[in-house]
Symmetry: C2
Subunit: 306 residues, 2 copies
């Protein structure tokens, strides 16, 4: 049976590219039938990556069958995976997020989690010399994933390893990193086609602090004026999204990749208090700029206080 | 703060030796203050390893403090770890068991789980060339762990990697594997000092099948006549152990390492039925021999039926 390789729901670049990389490795190098699949529509940056490198968009699946062989990449959180994930035959996990618990495997399997910025960087280490046999498109996906997750090395999650691997890949492929990253970020920044609710849910994780449930949403962009120009309707939409998703409050951070700062929308006193307690920010209007804040994982989630 | 490295409760050889190996690596190679600790008294084989290689017995701890830095080896099961494990600052996990879920980390950390017979084999791969700098005692602990977990390569959990690493270590150390393994197994087989309840709990994991809770206990020995000579009192003790530990039934498998078979004690009709359904064994008396059965992980647990 073909192994399905997938990342999390709401596929960003890493969760779209890493399954493609690993399915190539399993099938072409390890000789195991494998294919990448997606758990949702890829975001605009991921779609750009597919188009740029001539990669086929992986099939989108909604659930996995009992005992279906799968490899999970870029997450270990059951909430971000198909409902029947623990019914599947999980063959491997490759990830760079904190262990949240909840996944179970039927036997001992290969699990590799490392505190790097990007899943693709871990794969680069695991694939080793065999990467020489990879087609350009696979290497291109790898480079795109790293530039995406590190925001072209600006994110504080960036490690020396991520950086070194990206530079090696760019040289091998003859890619000018800053030029290519600018194209990627432009693709990610074009959010005109999305509804407010879609924008809020696009890159979002649920997180609970002292009994208050948040949906912590991030929009990384080189054109912050686009989402910020829709501030009022985004804030109105937050109420509905929170209700539908069973959380108490949406927090929306618009991350300006080039200025290296985030703007937090402040629709009410709860968020105003969160801004003050978490980031020492004094809020006067309905938004507040948080200088240097770029990473939900390293800067937002660990500091969140109610 | 010093990182505490530990395995599971009821430390066997791998759970005693692997913390010693990894604490050496962290402190001597990585320059991070680290020490091995134990969550209980080491078994007789582990004690033999310490004595044979001149290793100090690690301190035994009962719990971990909030935010104490720890590395977990040879398990990922919270039930086999200190009560406050999720309050600690888990820095790494190195293991070769199935993922059971339940452990949580505060951030992304290094996690490496591989389907090899022994944690020490995974460490050998991770340490790489730096192992050249290890003292003989650390390499000796590594070899002992592998010979113990593979039952000198007889267990079906044994992989080519475990075998190759053990042979390389034995050559490096000038150890005759079969002679040394015989000493190890003789140490493990001397169970005269233990009470029946201690024997039952010595190498034991809880496992639930269709609502029935079992304590699945294994005694690996080259002298099966020792525990089997105490069969009646062991079976009497099972009732008390089951009651105290809140399980429905103890299953005790006496694994004869040299004959490569297990003897299951059959105190009642429930175990008789388990023997029939799980292993196709027809039981006439109060025990039954299961030819070729040596591994709880590969042969007993996956086949258990009520």
């Amino acid at each position: 049976m073909t192994i399905q390789v997938f990342g999390h729901k709401s596929p960003d670049t890493d969760s779209t590219g890493s399954p493609i990389i690993w399915a190539w490795y399993l099938s072409e190098i390890k000789g195991e039938a494998a294919k990448p699949v997606l758990l949702g529509e890829p975001n605009t940056e991921a779609a750009f990556m597919l188009q740029h490198w001539g990669l086929e968009k992986p099939e989108i699946i909604t659930d996995v069958e009992d005992d279906a062989p799968v490899v999970i990449v870029d997450t270990n959180n059951p909430a971000e995976l198909p409902a029947n994930i623990n019914g599947a035959d999980i063959r491997g996990i490759i990830d760079h997020h904190k262990l949240v618990g909840g996944l179970e495997t039927k036997g001992p399997i290969d699990i590799r989690i490392e505190p790097l910025a990007c899943t693709a960087t871990i794969m680069w280490k695991m694939i080793g010399k065999d990467l020489a046999q990879a087609p350009k498109a696979v290497k291109g996906a790898m480079l795109t994933c790293i530039l995406s997750d590190t925001l072209e090395f600006r994110s504080p999650t960036t490690t020396q390893e991520d950086k070194a691997v990206a530079h090696a890949l760019a040289e091998d492929l003859g890619v000018d990193i800053s030029e290519y990253a600018a194209q990627m970020f432009a693709a990610k920044s074009d959010v005109s086609a999305f509804s407010d609710a879609e924008l809020i849910r696009m890159d979002s994780k649920e997180y609970e602090v002292d009994g208050t449930k948040f949906r912590v949403s991030v929009l990384e962009t080189t054109a912050p004026e686009m989402p910020l120009g829709r501030k009022d309707s985004l804030m109105a939409s937050m109420v509905d999204v929170a209700k539908e998703d069973g959380v108490d409050q949406v927090l929306l951070f618009v991350v300006d990749i080039l200025r290296e700062e985030a703007t937090l929308l402040v629709p009410n006193d709860l968020v105003k208090s969160v801004a003050a307690k978490s980031f020492g920010a004094e809020v006067s209007g309905d938004s507040v700029v948080l200088p240097g804040v770029m990473s939900r994982k390293k800067q937002i989630i660990p500091n969140l206080k109610v």
